[in-house]
Every structure is written in C-alpha cells, then in structure tokens.
C-alpha cells in the first residue's frame, strides 16, 4: 500500500459524498431510536446495497453504521435513554451533565469523542492491519472470560454508597441474562414457558424498559428534567457552549486516544461489541482517574470514555471480517453478505486481489467520520433545547414511542410487553436506589460471560485451571486484580494521609 494509493482512495471516497451524507442522516435517525440497530436497518435496505456497485454499497453501509454508533449517545445524554447498548454507559455522566444545564457541552463531548475516537482507530487500523488481524486469534474463550470480568467489575465500581444494593442489582441482572437455552445442549432455562425467551432476554426491550420507561415514570414528578438553574442555562445556550465543549475535548485529547484503543482491541474480538467496550472503557477511565469519586456526577471523562470506545469498536469489528472472514459482529455479518454477493472473497487474499475494497472500507469510515463532525457538531446547540420541553409532553412521548421501538429488533409484540415489565422493575429499582445500570450490565454481559466460560470449561473437560493456562490470559488476570486492588489501596492511602494531617 502506497501513499498515492491511499490518497487516491480518500479522493474516491470524498467523491461519494452524495451517498455518505444521506447514510449519515439515516444512521443518526435510526441511532437515536432504541430498537433499530444498524444491522436491522441494513438488512431492510439490502435490496438497495445489493443493486449498486460494491464501493458505493460499502460507503453507504459504513457511514450508516458509524453514524448509528455516534447517535446512540444523543438520547443517552438528553433524556437518559441510550439509543443502543453501546451508549448505556454514556448515561452515567451524560445525563447528570444535562441535569446541570450542560447538555450542549455533553453533546459536543460525545460528538468529538466519537468522531476522533473513530478516526484515530480507523487510521491505526489502516496502518497496522496485518498485525491487528492476528489479535483476534490470540483472544480465545479463556482470555475473553477475563475481558468480561473487566466489564462486570463496573457493577462494584458504580456501587457508590450502597455496594450490597448494587451487587444485588448486578447479580439479579446476571441471572436474568442466563434466561434462555444453554450454549451446549439448547435446553431452555427459566423461560416462563415463553418461546420468545428461548434466545435469551432481548437487549433492546431491557434497555428501553430499564432506562426509557422507568426514567419517564420518574420524570413526571417534576415539571422539567432540569432544575431552575439548568433551565436558565439551557435557555441561554450559545455557540460559546459548543466552543466550551470543544475546549474540554481538546483538554482531554489523551483520554479520547487511549479509550478509543480499548474499543478497537475489544472490537477486533469476534462476538464482543460496543456495549462491553464502553463499560470496560468507563471502568478503566474511572480506575486511572485522579478523582474517581466524581464519576457519575456529570464529568467530561465519563462521557468521553464510553463514546470514544464504542466508536473505536467500529473499525475493530471489521478487522476479523475482512482479514479472517469471521464477522466481528452482526452488522459486520450483513456487510460480509453484501461483499460476498459482489464476488469478494474474505480473508488475507482480499487485500491482495481487491485492495481498493479492503482498504477502501476503512478509508470510507474515516471520510464518514470527517463528514459527521461538520454535519452534527453545529446541531448540538439545537438538540440541547430538548430539555426545555415540559415532562407533561416528554414523558408520554418517550413511553409510547420507545414501546413501539421495542418491537423493532425482533418484530415481536411480546417484546413491547417485556419492555413495560422491565420499565416497572426499573422504576422500583430507581425509587429504592438499586442501580438500573448494574441490572443492565448483568443482562448484557451475563450471556457472553457464560458463553465464553462454558466454552473454555468444555474444552478443558471441566478443569477450572484452564482459566490460568495462557500467558495473555494470565497478564489479563493480573491487570484485573490490579484494577480491583488499586482503588482499595488508593482509599487506604487517602485515609492514612487524612489521619496524618
């Protein structure tokens, strides 16, 4: 690959602006709505992508996919409703920023972290593709068990003042996550007799219920979702607030860089996705912060980490798809179908036989992110005005529209009822301080954790020592222990210093 080739690719992709811009718009609309995942949208639009030349089809799909990842953070920040699982961690600090009247800054942080996180990892992928494609081969079920545990430790991290309640919520979620058929014999477990639960608890209704519906049922207690001071600040929203968000992003540039790489490495692993990447990045960001106690109160790092990570996943997901022929996620699988329909053979040969397609995919991603920065950043000022809508109107619209969106993923009426059930559980959890995010982390990571654990144990015929049998796995175990011990040691040192003073 030469510079001339790369520049030619960029020029060609910029020439596809007439495809990229509508795809970004559609991706943003679909990303804001929980329930409409990029893979569902791409499947619905397959007749279009199969009919046009492969370069145009890929530019359309990639732009829609990236815009979707970016847009999931918008409702997470404004009304505490993550547009996708990858944006669930964004609610932890994004929504508190909105409540403080800093919605515009939070949105700008979300956009810049997403765009630059996506851009950095895309360029890194282009430069390091041959080596990155090998990582997926080293991350097997044993190592993935530890990666999942990194995400699960966030339950303890967000526990706050009442760790017992957070752990009950987390383990309740984990047990809900085990509902469905098991991974070896396909025997149903705790499905209450519903066929719709044989594939496990669907994520979208859980997400909608726990966040959107429960939050709407709580928000009707107040006239608006922001207090008087926040309202006045939102009414005075100026371009200066957008610039303030940009300044904060520049100030935290290193944070964007390293958390986006967390997303890239997790994205490379087939099966792991934006949700785990965002939660792990948030957990690591809090762990290495000088002021971990401020996380959850509405700080820029708490928005940057999950957003940069879940956009770092976008390029990572495509690495095993193109380099190994193993789709890194369901959206990547749809893209693979389109590529194969157009006669592309996945795997290392693709880079030799069709470099304009193989590298073009990543160049297209970089171009989409550049377009996104200029199209969505100016909108932050206007989007932030959502907080000025009275809850009299906001709450019913949120409840009923998200209930409809719950239908979107699997097209079952059952899922709408399930979302309402989760909404009531979420409301009770909210009012009694059982962390809904902890329940969601359990539901999200429970099935993945079980899948990798059972696979590892199956290979070792039930021998638990297999979990400590690989060098990379042991390094990850060491880092996990460090992640758990470091906060305790830091607290001990802080208390000792206070005692000395």
């Amino acid at each position: 690959m030469t510079w001339e080739f790369l520049l030619g690719q960029f020029a060609a992709q910029f020439g596809l602006w007439w495809i990229i811009l509508p795809a970004i718009l559609l991706g943003i609309v679909v990303g804001i709505l929980p329930g409409f995942s990029p893979q569902n949208t791409l499947i619905m639009l397959l007749p279009l992508t199969l009919a046009v030349p492969v370069e145009q089809a890929m530019a359309f799909m990639i732009s829609l996919y990236c815009a979707n990842h970016l847009a999931g953070g918008i409702p997470a920040i404004l009304v505490k409703i993550p547009g996708s699982g990858g944006a669930a961690a964004t609610t932890l600090d994004g929504y508190p920023m909105t409540q403080k009247g800093q919605a515009q800054q939070a949105l700008v942080l979300c956009f810049t972290a997403s765009v630059f996180g996506g851009l950095i990892t895309t360029f890194a992928t282009i430069a390091l593709l041959p080596w990155l494609s090998q990582i997926g081969l080293y991350l097997r079920s044993v190592e993935m068990v530890v990666v999942m545990l990194f995400g699960l430790t966030l339950i303890a991290v967000i526990a706050g003042k009442d760790p017992v309640k957070a752990l009950i919520a987390g383990f309740f979620g984990l047990l809900i996550g085990v509902i469905g058929t098991d991974h070896i014999y396909n025997t149903p477990r705790a499905t209450f007799g519903f066929l719709e639960l044989y594939d496990g608890v669907p994520l979208v209704p859980a997400l909608i219920g726990l966040f959107a519906i429960s939050e709407a049922l709580v928000m009707i207690e107040e006239k608006m979702i922001v207090d008087q001071a926040g309202r006045e600040r939102a009414m005075r929203a100026r371009w200066a607030d957008t610039l303030e968000g940009l300044r904060l992003s520049l100030q935290k540039w290193w944070h964007i860089v390293w958390t986006s790489f967390v997303g890239l490495f997790i994205g490379i692993t087939p099966g792991a996705g934006a949700s785990i990447a965002a939660f792990v990045a948030y957990q690591q960001s809090r762990l290495w912060s000088k002021h971990p106690e401020r996380y959850g109160t509405g700080i820029p790092e708490g928005v940057i980490a999950p957003e940069a990570a879940n956009n770092g996943v976008t390029s990572g997901t495509l690495v095993p798809t193109l380099a190994l022929g193993v789709p890194g996620g369901s959206t990547a699988a749809v893209m693979m179908i389109v590529l194969q329909y157009h006669g592309m053979v996945m795997g290392p040969r693709l880079f030799a036989t069709n470099p304009e397609v193989a590298y073009g995919v990543f160049v297209s991603m970089a171009v989409a992110y550049i377009f996104m920065l200029f199209t969505i950043l100016p909108l932050a000022r206007y989007m932030s005005r959502v907080v000025l809508i009275e809850t009299t109107y906001l709450a019913p619209v949120i409840v009923l529209v998200t209930i409809v969106a719950a239908f979107g993923e699997r097209q079952y009426l059952f899922d709408m009822g399930l979302a309402l059930v989760f909404g009531v559980i979420g409301y009770i959890a909210h009012k009694t301080n059982y962390h809904v995010t902890a329940i969601l982390i359990g539901i999200l990571l429970g099935p993945l954790f079980e899948q990798y654990l059972v696979r590892a144990l199956r290979i070792s015929q039930g021998d638990l020592t297999v979990l400590f049998s690989s060098t990379l796995g042991n390094i990850l175990w060491g880092l996990l222990v460090l992640s758990l011990v470091l906060p305790l040691w830091r607290n001990y040192r802080q208390r000792r210093n206070q005692a000395v003073e």
């Binding site: 009950i168 991974h183 477990r189």
Partner: protein, 155 residues
C-alpha cells in the same frame, strides 16, 4: 422519624422469587447448562440474606419501618404514573386491531390528557407523533408492526 424500608425489599423479593424459579427450572439439566446460573443464583441469595439482615437490624433498633412510601411518593404523581402504565397496556393490547398509527395517536391523546395537557397541543402532538411513526416504521423501514385501518387506507 423511622426510615421506610419495606420498599427496599421489593427488588430482593423479586430477585429471590426468580432465583427459586430458576433453580427449579434447571434442576434436571446437565452441569454445563446450570453451572453458571447456580453460581450466580447462590451469590444472589447470599446478598439478599445480607440485605434482609441489614433491614432486620434497622427494624430491631427502631430506626426503620416496613413502609412502602418511597414507591408512590409524591402522591400527586401517582395517578399520572398508574394512568400512563394503564394506557401503555391498553395500547399494546389493542395494537393488533387499531394498528400503529391510530393506536399510537389514541394512546398518546389519552396519556397526554392524564398528564394534564389541554388545548390544541392535545390534538397536535398525538397526530404529529403518529404521522412521524407511520413514516418511519411503516413507509420507510417497512417493519412488520401491526397494520390497522389507517395503514390499510394509505397502502
């Protein structure tokens, strides 16, 4: 004043009930199918026991009561909250007959009325949202959401 902690028992009670059901449902399965759930369930039951002891100590010391007030306070929002859930149940139950557009417009009208909205907005908001939902879910994305009289008329 005693802290009402009866509400704090609702999530543990739900979790415990579910854990018991889970254990019963996996009793006859192979170890691979139940190992993970058994471990998670056992830890969950242990955590619930700790929470019960904590609440029990609060009750014994006279610092807590078994009140459920945190769940329905503030009282003035209770009617709106129950009404919203009832409207949502009715919307899901009638969706197959009314279809998305008409069902959503009627449900939103009822929910907004319960929330206290009056005047022109009571008609404009449901119609605008239902139209947007029709355009996105039916016209653009062509999802399989139930069709009713409006969708049949427009198709």
């Amino acid at each position: 004043m005693k802290k009402p902690q009866g509400a704090d028992l609702v999530i543990p009670a739900l979790a415990l009930g579910f854990a018991v059901y889970f254990f019963v449902s996996i009793a006859d399965l192979a170890w691979e199918a139940k190992a993970n759930g058994m471990v998670i369930g056992a830890i969950l039951v242990g955590l619930i026991a700790i929470q019960l002891v904590r609440i029990g100590i609060g009750l014994a010391k006279g610092q807590a009561s078994l009140g459920f007030s945190p769940l329905w306070e503030p009282r003035e929002a209770l009617g709106k909250r129950v009404g919203m859930v009832a409207v949502t149940i009715a919307f899901i139950a009638t969706l197959n007959w009314l279809g998305l557009t008409l069902g959503l417009a009627l449900a939103l009208f009822a929910a907004l009325w319960i929330m206290g909205a009056r005047g022109k907005t009571l008609a404009i908001v449901p119609l605008a949202v239902a139209l947007a939902a029709y355009l996105l879910f039916v016209a653009l994305l062509q999802s399989d959401i139930p069709h009713g009289p409006i969708e049949r008329l427009l198709s």
